[in-house]
Every structure is written in structure tokens, then in C-alpha cells.
């Protein structure tokens, strides 16, 4: 039997930040020893400064600092919301570090607040300020001795041309075998080579996934 969701925290950025963290996502004095689920939501904003891949172009990702932070299985689906078609690819099936090290890191087919590419999901506020935003939810499951998994869903995103609605569904997933960390964990949102804009919002919840504690 699962327990109710517990609200862990909320952040609204008062200044630009390259990284947004939620620390101590479970109690240090009562380490997690049962299955846990976390839900993290971001309503992020950025500016489109680069319409093509160029030197130091921004990209975005999120990850945790569990014992096994290297996700050895990652799967990513890229949806072309202009045409309604979808294609998919596998990031990595290796247990080695690499692109799978950070969940949902994708330098080119950015999953969020992105740049370039007629098929990439994002939303403009207007042509004048070029502000973009997107709402994304990540579900992170942690099972000691079994492993961790993450899924990402997109909400309220439209295509680069605003010609069609976004694909509100799971767009990426990844998993890792092995023992999950019993230590207090941290969840990270990372804007590489750029920042999340002032006003971006972040929420987090936790839930024990069974009664045995």
C-alpha cells in the first residue's frame, strides 16, 4: 500500500541560476530503507539565444546523486509535433558512464526549453522577446537493492512553429540496476552553458511506496 504524497518544497527563482537543487529529499535521521517515489515538476523559462547548435550552446538535464548515479539504461523519444510523427532512439545500453550518466541529458534533441530544429518541443511567448518555457514532470523511483528509475513527461509544450499542440506524454525514461543509496539524496536540475531564468518554478514531492517502515 502506498502512502500519501508529501510536499517537500518549492522554489521560484529570484535570480538566474545554472543549477537548482532539492537536498535532503529524505530524512537524514531516518534513512530510506523502503521503496520511495519522488515527483519533481519544473515550469522553466529561458531565452532562445541560439537557433542552431553553436559554440557553448545551452542544454538542460536533471539527475540524482544516488549511489549508482550512472543510469545504465536510457531511452528517449523525440516527437515531431509539427507532423504528428514520432521517432525514437536509444541513448545508451551501456553500464559505462556517458550520456546516460545524467538522466535525460541530451545535447542536441533537447527535451526542454530548447533551440533549433523544426520538430523540437518548446513554446514561445512571442517573437519579440523570444522567451520560451515548458512544464516537465519527472518521476523518480528508488528501490534499495533493486535500483532506480526515472521518467519524464512533458506538459503544455508546442512545436517551434506553434502549429500544433505538444505531446503530453512520457518522453524519456532511464533506469539503473544495483543498490540505491540510503543516504539523504539530492535532485538536480542543470542548465549547462546557460541559466534558468528568473521566475522559473520548481516543486518536489515524496511518497513511501509501501507500508513496511
Amino acid at each position: 500500500m502506498t502512502q500519501p504524497w508529501q510536499f517537500l518544497g518549492y522554489q521560484k527563482l529570484s535570480a538566474r541560476a545554472s543549477q537548482v537543487q532539492f537536498t535532503n529529499v529524505w530524512d537524514a535521521t531516518s534513512p530510506k530503507n523502503r521503496n520511495m517515489k519522488f515527483k519533481v515538476v519544473m515550469e522553466g523559462m529561458t531565452y532562445n539565444e541560439t537557433d542552431v547548435i553553436e559554440v557553448g550552446a545551452p542544454y538542460y538535464y536533471c539527475y540524482t546523486d544516488g549511489t549508482n548515479s550512472s543510469y545504465d539504461r536510457s531511452y528517449y523519444q523525440q516527437y515531431d509535433t509539427n507532423s504528428g510523427s514520432a521517432s525514437s532512439k536509444t541513448w545508451s545500453t551501456s553500464a559505462n558512464h556517458g550520456q546516460s550518466q545524467s538522466a535525460f541529458q541530451e545535447q542536441y534533441q533537447n527535451w526542454i526549453l530548447t533551440k533549433g530544429g523544426s520538430g523540437t518541443q518548446r513554446r514561445y511567448s512571442s517573437a519579440e522577446d523570444n522567451l520560451q518555457w515548458g512544464t516537465y514532470e519527472v518521476t523518480w523511483g528508488s528501490q534499495p537493492g533493486i535500483g532506480e528509475s526515472m521518467q519524464m513527461k512533458a506538459f503544455n509544450v508546442v512545436s517551434i512553429s506553434n502549429s500544433s499542440s505538444g505531446y503530453n506524454h512520457v518522453i524519456a525514461g532511464c533506469g539503473s540496476g544495483g543498490a540505491a543509496s540510503p543516504a539523504p539524496g539530492t535532485f538536480y536540475w542543470q542548465a549547462a552553458n546557460y541559466t534558468f531564468e528568473t521566475g522559473s518554478k520548481f516543486w518536489m514531492w515524496a511518497m513511501r511506496d509501501d507500508n513496511g517502515f
Binding site: Q19, I53, E54, Q105, Y194
Partner: protein
């Protein structure tokens, strides 16, 4: 960007703080970016090989008398190859 900022919410205390990256965090981030470039190089190499096979397949089908439209329906589009010079800082 010289000063990378972190917004940190401690779920145990409910306190949110804003601070600059530590030297260790800067190092981790740079290492991650280098890793991403390395991964991109591997992916590009794989895609170049895949695209060559797709091109050969298209030629074979065209040689069999299929139209370009029919071939396009059968053979997937090329994999994207990213411009690597754009990724090196």
C-alpha cells in the same frame, strides 16, 4: 559566464539559498560537458556508418525500378549528424 549560480532548497529545513558554484561543482560540470562532447563524437560516427548503409539501400531499390517516393516510404530518413566544431569551446 563567470559566476554560475545555484538555487538550493533543503527539504529538511525548508530553507532556500542562492550561492555560487563551488570549485568542485565547476569541475564536475566541465567534466560532464566534456563527456557529452565525447559521446556526441561516438554517436556521430555511428550515424555516419548508418547513413552510408541507408544510401546504399536506397540506390539498390532505385536500381530495382522503384520510384524515389516509394523508396522514401521504405527506407528511413538519415540519422542526424551534429556539427562537432560547434561543440568545442
Amino acid at each position: 559566464m563567470s559566476n554560475y549560480m545555484v538555487s538550493e532548497h533543503d527539504c529538511a529545513t525548508g530553507i532556500t539559498t542562492e550561492r555560487e558554484f563551488t570549485a568542485e561543482e565547476m569541475e564536475e560540470m566541465r567534466a560532464g560537458q566534456q563527456e557529452a562532447v565525447k559521446q556526441a563524437e561516438i554517436e556521430n560516427a555511428q550515424n555516419v556508418v548508418a547513413n552510408a548503409k541507408l544510401a546504399t539501400t536506397r540506390e539498390k531499390f532505385l536500381g530495382m525500378g522503384l520510384t524515389q517516393e516509394e523508396v522514401d516510404l521504405i527506407v528511413p530518413a538519415d540519422q542526424e549528424v551534429h556539427p562537432m566544431e560547434a561543440l568545442v569551446e
